[in-house]
């Protein structure tokens, strides 16, 4: 759960991102009848270090941060702001969660012809601690 807290904390405290999406930052899915632009985030993979008889609480997760917008230019600006908030967030404590480091992995752009929404899925790998 700490990975969600950390990512939400890092994105939520990024002024440049907040200026673009306000508080429209959601775990997993957009709400019904969403207002655009907005950002969602979800875990797509994860694991932890393993010791001989107990685990040290050193964890990692791949997090997908998805940007949803009616404009590609606007989406690109949001992706840039989100990436700046997460990429290489190193040795910081966010909302009580220790983040050891965070790496941007890749972006995938796409467009939904029916809703005319542009979106980008950005993948990050975050290393963090569990109690």
């Amino acid at each position: 759960m700490n990975e969600y807290i950390a990512v939400r904390g890092l994105l939520g405290q990024a002024g440049a991102l907040t200026a673009l999406i306000g508080t429209r930052l959601y775990p997993d899915v957009l709400p019904d009848n969403p207002v655009y632009p907005a950002v969602t985030f979800q875990k797509t993979d994860g694991g932890n270090e393993v010791g001989s008889v107990s685990n040290p609480g050193i964890c990692w997760a791949e997090m997908q941060v998805s940007t949803w917008s009616k404009s590609r230019i606007e989406a690109a600006a949001i992706v840039k702001a989100a990436s700046a908030a997460l990429d290489r967030a190193r040795l910081v404590t966010v909302a009580g969660v220790q983040v050891d480091d965070c790496f941007w992995l890749f972006d995938t752009d796409d467009h939904d012809g029916e809703t005319r929404i542009y979106f980008t899925h950005s993948k990050f790998k975050i290393h963090y601690r569990e109690p």
Partner: protein, 137 residues
């Protein structure tokens, strides 16, 4: 307790006595553990039998995996490596002179962790020669 277990425990005691963080519960460092940290990787042993005298001389290999973070990762573990080496070489019989004959350093290898680009990992190979009576371990 075998002599190998006794020697390993003594190495841990010596390194901790030098103020170093040491563990031996895995054979590798974690990418993002608190550093500097040393992992003792106990390796293989090769016997030098002394025929007719009732003794076997064993050559025990062990590695110190020394991890430290720094802007120059490959050299970040150097101060810890120095402290560990000096602590071990302060008494090359490790305080176990009744059966440990000698300690020798063999090789140093340096790398950067695959996950943590700031973490340097230095592997220092040592070999300890110790003696046991035939029929004991």
């Amino acid at each position: 307790m075998t002599q190998t277990e006794t020697i390993t425990a003594q190495i841990v005691t010596i390194l901790k006595g030098a103020g170093l963080t040491v563990r031996d519960d895995t054979d590798a460092l974690y990418s993002f553990e608190y550093k500097p940290c040393i992992v003792i990787d106990v390796g293989d042993e090769l016997a030098d039998p002394v025929f007719g005298q009732g003794y076997i001389y064993w050559n025990l290999n062990f590695d110190l995996l020394i991890g430290a973070d720094g802007e120059n990762p490959k050299l970040a573990p150097e101060s810890t490596r120095k402290a560990a080496h000096e602590a071990l070489y302060a008494d090359r019989q490790l305080g176990l002179s009744d059966f440990v004959v000698d300690l020798n350093v063999k090789q140093i290898q340096r790398a950067i962790d695959a996950e943590n680009p700031a973490a340097g990992i230095t592997r220092v190979a040592y070999q300890i020669k110790y003696r046991v009576e035939e029929g004991t371990a």
